[in-house]
């Protein structure tokens, strides 16, 4: 059945993939194993821009629609649409024409209800809202009004032709929707888990909203095991644990993982703060030389992480820099110093990090398991280069861009493991990795990503002049900056 899905107007690229992931989680796709069939049907209202908050989605049942909406972070509401129109007259005709058997059960005298008037792109005064509600008397509401905790919530949502120069997606004409709320996101999660009040933070701790989105993309739920190979302060695992998953994390920096900033300020105390189940284990391990036994396969249901891209935090791997370049022979630690020795580490390029992550995921994810991670991209002239790392075991099912600055964004990639791991697969993946490295990241290697992000615009050839021209000719639509 088709439902009206209204999104919060933020993180635009992340909205539909979240609903798709939750549809998968709540069984909307049944037993069909063909990965390309496992996606929802979407429609946009006539002449609406894809960035519009209004979408129509076809979901198999109201229960699934409710589960999806209630667990999501970006769905303002999923509504059973009773009517829509360009004017209140049209709306009235539409609602009157909507089948009684769909309406009457929710208008019954024993139930309580509330009507909420909402608008997108404009503000309505309290008086205007009341007038709208008064205009709905043709609907035979028999129940009592309960503003605090009604059985049923009805929404009257209006959007208008508010012009094109205010940073919102362009809308051609007025449209009014009236529907019964089936479910809505619980945004109260965000102030509860916000980083501002978190016990133990690090410089790259994932903010709560994004961590929940990642956990949803990874299908975190009770009975599943989620792994973060770059766990840091555990911000991503917290979100997964909130949804009931068992968690496990590793980091190359032992101070972050074992010591934190004291006995009450470490990863464990973060989990304590929210009353969440502790991670099954945290370990210090190098993703480049992992400590897993050979033959260990398909253990994790999801790997959700934010790898170091070398911009704000650089990755490290085992081996000293001079050692790996052959300038110096390996250092043999004297026996009495062995137990406290902190091995030297070398810079870990983004490309190599990606390859190791994909290899780890190919080996350790169950079939159908999800790999969710952030990938940094440079933006040129407002468009984004879309060459992502690939691996024969994986199918990319979602990529969502979050613009961070004029020249730089991060993309959340969601990959599903669709092919089993074998030595041959590993070999062909290595070849693909070398191609990728040569073709696409020639200039991102050697830390150029960092300098590209932080250098002043003048050093970018021709960029400064182009951006001046662009600013004048294009209307100021904010698009994915929200």
């Amino acid at each position: 059945m088709w439902y009206l899905c209204v999104f919060y107007h933020r993180l635009l690229d992340y909205r539909r993939p979240e609903v798709e992931a939750l549809a998968e989680l709540f069984g909307a796709f049944g037993e069909d194993s063909e990965i390309s069939h496992r996606s929802l049907e979407w429609k946009l209202p006539e002449s609406h821009h894809p960035d519009s908050p209004f979408h129509f989605v076809n979901l198999p049942s109201e229960d699934i629609a409710r589960s999806i909406a209630n667990r999501s972070i970006l769905v303002k509401g999923i509504y059973e649409l009773w009517g829509q129109g360009n004017s209140y007259k049209e709306l009235e005709e539409a609602i009157k024409g909507y089948p009684d058997e769909r309406k009457l059960p929710y208008l019954a005298s024993e139930s309580t209800f509330k009507i909420i008037v909402d608008s997108f792109g404009k503000v309505m005064t309290f008086q205007e809202q009341n007038e709208r509600i008064q205009g709905l008397t043709y609907i035979p509401f028999k129940g009592k009004v309960n503003l605090r905790n009604p059985d049923h919530k009805f929404w009257l949502i209006e959007t208008d032709d508010y012009g094109s120069n205010n940073g919102l997606p362009p809308v051609v004409q007025r449209r009014i929707y009236f529907g019964r709320e089936v479910g809505a996101a619980d945004r109260k999660l965000l102030p509860t888990y916000q980083l501002k009040s978190r016990n133990y933070l690090g410089p790259t701790a994932m903010d709560a909203e994004m961590a929940f989105l990642m956990a949803n993309q990874g299908l975190a739920m009770p009975g599943k095991l989620v792994y973060d190979p770059f766990v840091g302060t555990g911000s991503i695992l917290i979100a997964a644990a909130h949804f009931g998953a068992m968690t496990m994390g590793a980091d190359i920096d032992i101070r972050v993982v074992r010591d934190g900033r004291g006995p009450d300020c470490n990863v464990w105390s973060n989990f304590n703060q929210y009353g969440l189940a502790m991670p099954i284990s945290l370990l210090r391990a190098d993703n480049n030389l992992p400590p897993w036994r050979t033959g260990l396969r398909e253990v994790f249901d999801a790997i959700i992480c934010d790898p170091p891209y070398g911009v704000r935090a650089g990755g490290r791997k085992s081996g000293g820099r001079k050692l790996l370049k052959g300038a110096v022979g390996p250092y043999t630690v004297p026996d009495d110093k062995r137990s406290d020795h902190i091995p030297s580490t070398a810079p870990y390029s983004l490309v190599e990090c990606m390859h190791d992550l994909l290899d780890l995921a190919a080996r350790m994810l169950v079939m159908g398991g999800r790999l969710v991670f952030f990938y940094p991209v440079l933006r040129e002239d407002g468009s984004t280069d879309t060459h992502y790392p690939e691996h024969p075991c994986f199918t990319l099912i979602a990529s969502s861009e979050q613009i961070l600055s004029l020249r730089y964004s991060r993309v959340l990639l969601t990959m599903v493991k669709t092919g089993p791991y074998s030595e041959e697969v590993a070999e062909s993946a290595k070849k693909k990795h070398l191609e990728f490295k040569e073709n696409h990241l020639k200039w991102l290697e050697d830390g150029n990503l960092r300098s590209a992000v932080f250098n002043p615009a003048d050093t970018q050839t021709g960029f400064a002049e182009d951006s001046q021209l662009n600013k004048e000719s294009k209307p100021k639509y904010r698009g994915k900056y929200v």
């Binding site: 009770p222 009975g223 599943k224 095991l225 068992m246 496990m248 190359i252 032992i254 993982v257 074992r258 010591d259 189940a277 502790m278 099954i280 284990s281 945290l282 370990l283 210090r284 391990a285 190098d286 030389l289 992992p290 400590p291 897993w292 036994r293 050979t294 260990l296 396969r297 398909e298 253990v299 249901d301 085992s318 081996g319 000293g320 050692l323 390996p330 250092y331 043999t332 630690v333 062995r338 137990s339 020795h341 091995p343 030297s344």
Partner: protein, 122 residues
Amino acid sequence: MRLLTHNMLSCNIKGVTNGFPLRLEVEKFVEKEVDFSAEFLRNIFPKIEWKALVDASRSMGYSQLPDEADSSMLDSDDFLKKFHHALLELHLEEGVLICPETGRRFPVNKGIPNMLLHEDEV
């Protein structure tokens, strides 16, 4: 460090072929309660090296696991409880993991094993 983790770790020093399972030297061990999830246990059971788990739990002082196990035993509540206890509730706080082939010692401090290899082992 729980025995689930121990069951996954091995010594991967260059040239070592028999780095699993690591021997446990227990200095401080705790029992921590973990929520029971039969579904999780059933999912993880096929990935566990049973003998390694039995030996490890014995060195932590728990000898109630059967020497051998197969998936039919997952239907028994009693077995699941023992499995759950050994896998998730026995916690090594301080100790050492020792490689069976080279004798290399991996310390476990505050429950966190340090599996990082030194420069000459890479």
